[in-house]
Amino acid sequence: MQLTLEFGGGLELLCDSEKIHKVNVDLPNGAAADDDFTMKHLLSWVRTNLIKERPEMFMKGDTVRPGVLVLVNDCDWELSGQLDTTIEEKDVIVFISTLHGG
């Protein structure tokens, strides 16, 4: 499915300094054909395909690093189930890092 991914707050530096990525993603090979596509699948897809350096800045374990905001269609993913949030065609997902400065 077609998705738009945006990276902000410094995270774009991990993806060749591109802030906006229009991508086409599919369920991983192990999943059944009618499984919902969730944020969990998307995160591992992003880590494999978009993050070119320092993956520890983006993810910690199975989920995003604490301090990274995730918005699915402008809505905080904590309201829609975090990793279990289902993703649909044409969704816009934004990752913003809140960690910066000193």
Partner: protein, 225 residues
Amino acid sequence: MDDIVKMIGLKNNCTFCGVFRRQALDRGAALLKVDKLVTGHNADDIAETVLLNILRGDIARLSRCTSITTGEDGPIPRCKPFKYTYEKEIVMYAYFKKLDYFSTECIYSPNAYRGFVREFIKDLERLRPRAILDIIKSGEDFRIATTTKMPEQGTCERCGYISSQKWCKACVLLEGLNRGLPKMGIGRPRGVNGDHKKDTKKPGPAVKSIESKQCGSLDFQNFGN
């Protein structure tokens, strides 16, 4: 900062940067003859500072760091209006209002002590978001035993600004840099721990001085939660 780091190495950078930046802020504010100096410290910063001061046993700062206004008896009081605002809220606000957003990471900070505390607080926030406000509340409720020796406010002999030691921290650091003694002003004069790192986000008045106090005894009255 690059020149300073060439001289002092990759440790204790926050001490130099923080002290000199604060001094620049103070001097600039005095030149402009302002009434108040307002900074953008948010809830996450204050919570980090509370934990940092506890970890270092810095009693003087612990008693001051949660005040929303400091230095009221001085020439230019300082205030932190975003004290209770979560960093996450600020970022979301900036995003939705499409504000210009600067997100440069300090290149000297990867080993800063504050980074570890920040990591811890972010993990805490994930488990229980109220933890940040609760830490601030606990910090506000600390009461220091009256028997603790606290630093007294005087003036710096070299520049005349307020200081709790003979020379203010900025003068001590500057003298060290000029004399080629990068370790001057770093580390405790006596005590258990070795290096004593200061941080860029340390709130408080223009007193930047090494502690000469004994370890205090914290009297926990009103341990609020």
